[in-house]
Symmetry: C2
DNA sequence: GCTGGTTCTGGAAGCGCTCCCATAGATTTC
DNA sequence: GAAATCTATGGGAGCGCTTCCAGAACCAGC
């Protein structure tokens, strides 16, 4: 609809300003009914303590009676706060968004944001066009804060946000020296525990399928894998490391490569369940039994981990809690912009299933 | 902090009103730089055609030079449009949100909403408290339109929205006589096709595990199942129908019940993949082979359909397209509120996998 | 009873924008 | 060539709210 290109009203009638109920009563109505000035009503509603009990009560009564709801736009205009938080999800790769990881993070974020009476804006970025639009959008300061999930090492967005001075919290960090606030699961510890579990089960040729190394999660999980081996006195070798891309197809290909290169592999730690599912297919087609011949551990404890056969042992992150923590950090930062950045690592947990059972349960290898 | 009221001109004060960039240049700045009045600048920017080419060009140059971005709140205040669409997702049951169904619908919605330069608000509703908050929120008219996914038959929300006169589109309908606009997959046709596939493969004792009957999707899929049987000249019997709840555990229980009641069942049409996954477990523990003894079909073609063993034959809905259609319907309705409601049913597609292969491929039953 | 504080309150000034209205030019018509 | 008709423009009035400021009302204290 082209803005009322002039002639939608023939005469003095149809006056848009006097719409029936463009949102209901105004603060003036409340003030009038309560018998106070608008400014007093405003103070009463916003909880200024320089209002007498009597006035406050009168205002509250009037608010209730009129069903008054403040006009958000008017308030935003004068306070230059929007009470909105943007959640930005890049949706380049494989429908990342459908991973429980994202939905649970979002769920956690949503809880806290709603509790703070703020709005949550969901922004999916799929391509360059949307990316440009997003940049313009952020420059227009239409949100009080931003949450960024799935950041790549060279993503320009965090830097932009930093320049614009918009409070930002990342789900996961870009690198080891992250300057912004972030919350992440303990990827290093989680990976290490997973590999230690394999070592404890007697596996000796433990490979890993890593994620793309331009993502810090992938690097950290790989580091955790190496750490576990080193601690167990095993020197990690590069031919047991296969870098992939977090997709199922990538997991399959990587597993084939590993089998080719090191046929004696007896365990694989995959940096994601999706890749583990791919690896499982490759192992099946190579006629290796899981877990008897090769034990398999995934990461994320996503929905597919429970549905493969055998079900996947996997590292679970406290995803909803991560979401909540992100929101809390951000809300604090919005309320108090000069507050120093904060970074949080939350513990993970190994969920043991059939693809890599514990001590003794597995094949009597070694 | 003293507020430098108005006179930040000559004074050395550098007062807050002249904040660094509370959002950048204003329309007045643009007008001044372009050498026109504010109203002209406004018209130029909003594409009124009553502006001379010369003025328009000057304004555009000024906008570019200043990096001007309209203040949304100010615009919203005067137009009483928010340019925001709320997407409301009840998150009662099992992390529904993580189903690809939701994420793909959201993805489609997001594309269209972004293209229209509107904002997408995500509102998750988990409990009564959040529900009340939502009601208050909707009453405050802070969104131009609402998208409701996963509606139950007796959900009070659609009615509320109808009363408030807020443009609304549902993903799926509440019942057969839905008064609001909606977009849905062809549940009836999809179910019928699935069952016809089973019939075509020679199955004769085809059961169904239905969803909760207070959801129209569940009813419609059940109706499609019955329709297929009737068309094939088989009278649908109630002991082959087991109502469940769309959860995995529910699917397991339902399958057990069916096996108990009708041990000769040779195929099951499940109203969701999640329930099919549960049914699969029940069949396995009852030592029925899938598909040789019992063929299994799911619905949704969700991520788990590809990861069970055997992989599930399932009915795929054009989910992203549904999302896009929803958004388009809604945006139309926002632009033109008196436009009649519209309802759209989009076709589904049967994806055949091992759990219910086609003719001849399956066991030589019958 | 008057002064010197405290509270509390009402008036008023905008926040940045859209859109109505009146006016100044430009163009046409007779 | 003057009147009539358009068109583009500038002025200005708000949209509903917060917040500054000055003044009213109140309480002590001398």
């Amino acid at each position: 609809m082209k803005r009322g290109t002039t002639d939608d009203g023939p005469g003095p009638s149809a006056s848009p300003p006097a719409a029936p109920h463009p949102g209901g009563a105004t603060l003036d109505d409340v003030a009038a009914l309560a018998g106070v000035a608008r400014s007093t009503a405003s103070r009463a509603i916003n909880g200024s303590h320089e209002v007498s009990e009597k006035a406050r009560a009168a205002v509250q009564r009037a608010v209730a009676e009129l069903g008054y709801v403040p006009n958000h736009a008017a308030r935003a205009l004068v306070t230059s706060r929007t009470d909105a938080i943007a959640l930005i999800v890049p949706e380049t790769e494989t429908r990342l968004f459908s991973e429980p990881y994202f939905s649970d993070v979002i769920s956690g974020v949503s809880m806290e944001v709603a509790a703070a009476d703020m709005q949550l804006l969901l922004i999916l970025v799929r391509n360059e066009g949307e990316r440009r639009r997003l940049t313009a959008y952020l420059r227009s300061h239409r949100v009080d804060g931003v949450i960024l999930v799935s950041v790549h090492r060279d993503d320009p967005l965090p830097t932009l946000l930093e320049e614009l001075g918009i409070p930002t919290v990342l789900a996961g960090r870009r690198g080891e020296n992250e300057s912004l606030s972030y919350v992440a699961g303990d990827n290093h510890g989680g990976a290490r525990t997973a590999v230690q579990h394999l070592i404890g089960a007697g596996r000796t040729r433990i490979a890993t399928i890593a994620g793309p190394l331009d993502m810090e999660v992938a690097r950290t999980r790989l580091a955790g894998y190496r750490d576990a081996l080193v601690r167990a006195g095993q020197a990690p070798t590069d031919d047991l490391v296969q870098v992939s891309d977090f997709t199922e197809e990538g997991g399959r290909t990587a597993m084939h490569a590993l089998l080719q290169r090191s046929p004696d592999v007896d365990a694989v730690f995959c940096a994601s369940d999706v890749m583990a599912a791919g690896a499982l297919q490759a192992l099946r087609s190579a006629e290796r039994r899981v877990p008897e011949d090769v034990a398999l551990v995934g990461f994320d404890d996503s929905i597919i981990a429970r549905h493969t056969t055998p079900a996947l042992t996997s590292v679970r992150q406290p995803v909803e809690e991560i979401g909540r923590a992100i929101a809390r950090l951000l809300l604090d930062q919005v309320a108090e912009p000069k507050r120093p950045r904060r970074q949080l690592i939350l513990p993970t947990e190994l969920v043991v299933r059939q693809s890599a059972p514990g001590h003794g349960t597995s094949a009597a290898k070694s």
